[in-house]
Subunit: 390 residues, 2 copies
């Protein structure tokens, strides 16, 4: 079930160890499911219980530690030797008496790793405050530090094999968005629209299937279109509705997001104008992006264009995307905003999403891109315009 070659996984582990060495980290406890997948291949919906991949500077292969029943999936999906897959018993699961990190502490001590410099992913969803407290209690001789972003910043430049997955996700995206816009109509229930989106994106193409996206279809509508993270109800679309689709094609956990805005019926002047400005700005940003420019310089292109119209957008206009699990398809590295001085490089993949949100309407027109040797290319391919269905 390996999704990349064993060699590619080993190269990733090597890069992680180099970064650990550089920072004097002896043990890295990876709890971010995407980072776990990146170094081990492990892939299952088990992150609702505590689990990790531990990388030891003085051991060749990482160790997967999780719930015993998920060790079966680890043996099937990870490249690790089976003695490096360690399961804890079920009475640790969601218990008020014992914590899985107590077990992890024991494993680390047994392996002679209990008194090391240990780094943890302090701001990851799957490393709770209690995880940290339990580890500190269980390993009083260890020192702890924050490895936030350590693996994420390695992931940020994709291998050719990863780019191939991103492009497949893009193909699913193109097909799915096209189908969604075709299906949308006045009188369709929003839940049926969401159902159709799920169907096409999960089915994928004839050549390859789709995976679940890390975020559900976001489809705010009408006067709620400015509330960009609303999902759906069972109400019907009405004439005059503004509809936003923010979706992602997903192939083997790799995401290619896109958003488009559709007017059901004749658009208002305000909507047309906002869409025009958004597209103009997005085009300018994509024309600008190439290796060597920084994330904040790309944002400035957008902001300067907006300024012409007397407008201002507070929120970032994009972020790095790729391999992920719920609740986010962003990689928590690059944000295209003032202050982010990341220099863009070939094979970085970004979702450029200059969403314009107002109290009573909104416009989103966005694309996922790959930075190429000389500029950038979009991963999906749907016309960049305000769609109008009359």
């Amino acid at each position: 079930m390996l999704t990349f070659s064993k060699e590619e996984f080993q190269l990733r582990v090597q890069k992680v160890k180099e970064k650990m060495e550089e920072r004097g980290i002896e043990v890295l406890l990876i709890t971010d499911p995407a980072n776990m997948n990146y170094v081990s291949g492990y892939n299952a919906w088990s992150f609702y219980v505590h689990q990790m991949v531990a990388v030891f500077l003085d051991e060749e292969e990482p160790v997967w530690i999780g719930r015993f029943m998920d060790a079966i999936a680890a043996r099937k999906t990870a490249w690790l030797k089976h003695e490096n897959i360690v399961g804890y018993s079920d009475n640790y699961v969601q218990s008020y008496e014992r914590h899985p990190m107590d077990y992890v502490s024991d494993v680390l001590k047994e392996r002679g790793q209990g008194n090391k410099r240990i780094a943890v992913e302090m701001d990851n969803y799957y490393f709770t405050a209690q995880c940290y407290e339990s580890l500190k209690k269980g390993l009083p001789n260890a020192t702890f530090e924050d490895a936030r972003g350590l693996v994420n910043w390695i992931k940020v430049v994709k291998s050719d094999a990863e780019i191939e997955y991103m492009k497949r996700a893009g193909q699913i995206m193109t097909k799915g968005m096209t189908d969604a816009i075709n299906y949308l109509n006045v009188g369709v229930r929003k839940c049926d629209m969401a159902a159709e989106i799920y169907r096409t994106f999960t089915s994928g193409t004839e050549e390859f299937g789709g995976d679940y996206a890390s975020i559900v279809p976001l489809m705010p509508t009408g006067v709620d279109a400015g509330a960009c993270h609303l999902t759906w109800t069972d109400e019907k679309y009405k004439d005059g509705d503004i509809v936003i689709f923010e979706l992602a094609g997903c192939y083997r956990r790799y995401h290619s997001p896109m958003s488009r805005t559709i007017s059901l019926g004749k658009p208002s002047e305000k909507l047309e104008e906002t869409a025009k400005i958004t597209i103009e700005g997005l085009n300018k940003v994509l024309d600008f992006i190439k290796p060597g420019v920084t994330a904040e310089e790309a944002e400035a292109v957008w902001a300067n264009n907006l300024k012409k119209y007397g407008l201002f957008k507070e929120s970032r206009i994009g972020y790095s995307t790729g391999l992920n699990y719920p609740p986010d398809w962003g990689e928590h590295t690059i944000s295209i905003r003032p202050g982010d001085k990341t220099v863009l490089q070939p094979n970085m993949t970004l979702h450029v999403i200059p969403g314009m949100y107002f109290e009573d309407f909104g416009v989103e027109i966005s694309d996922a891109i790959r930075v190429t040797e000389t500029g950038c290319e979009t991963l999906g391919n749907v016309e960049r315009k305000l769609f109008i269905k009359e």
Copy 2:
């Protein structure tokens, strides 16, 4: 957009405050999205950034604190007065320089709440180790304690209005599982099967639409059927495959899960025998469950039946379910396992799932139930048997 009456929300807040008072908690910071929804009604896919609902013992209404762009959705979905909806600026989002909990600390101090006894949900996915560190740093005069489960244990007995939602989720479940079993066949790609499941569950019934379930369709197959949290690939189903569907109908964030096992072609003796034992045990547990019995007593009924066959299952055979967000539809309260002395009460809702997992195959036949005044009733309605498609 309120999903329950304002009075029901206020009653919930009152119950939370009573529990706070009992424990000497002055400020409760709720970061679990399901608990946030429970007390405020707030519902959006925004939990990938830090957010919370804060309950102050000396203030009447809770305060929503989150990303400024999500404040729009908060104003639309929560019952709270608008001055109690507070947004932080975008430069706090996934920043390596500042943390949203720094902002929260400032808000608390401004409201005169910075030196109080503050409780946080220590083991919730959306309260990371960094959240806790930042709060402790920002509020040096506060004392902190763990409110893990505080709201969850209030949620565990459902109101009649919530039971109505659970029953609707059960109707979606019944329809969806029936459709899934009908659609399943040799030669169907697993991704197309998943697509069909998503379609029917999201579309819901003619009367009401479905919501997204907190866990994606779990559908381990064949020799991988024992790896219970695997999702899907784009391979085709083969003759002789064992197929497990673990799914949930969802209505307005309320879940009614179910699992069934299907044999494509003639089942092996081993499979038939395991299915028979599973159903027998499940039936006995459901016959036993009524108000007044404990969770561990219900498990003992299962374990004793299994013992007759010389079998043993380590993992819990069920848990409380209801309102939730990814990554789990379990409520992190009751586990049906040895040591759990929770006394069952009317309007508790449980997913009874005695899954039998082996290295090379597995069986899952499970039902969601409501504890009634005299026993229990299932929320979905699909025959409890090993399905065979030849």
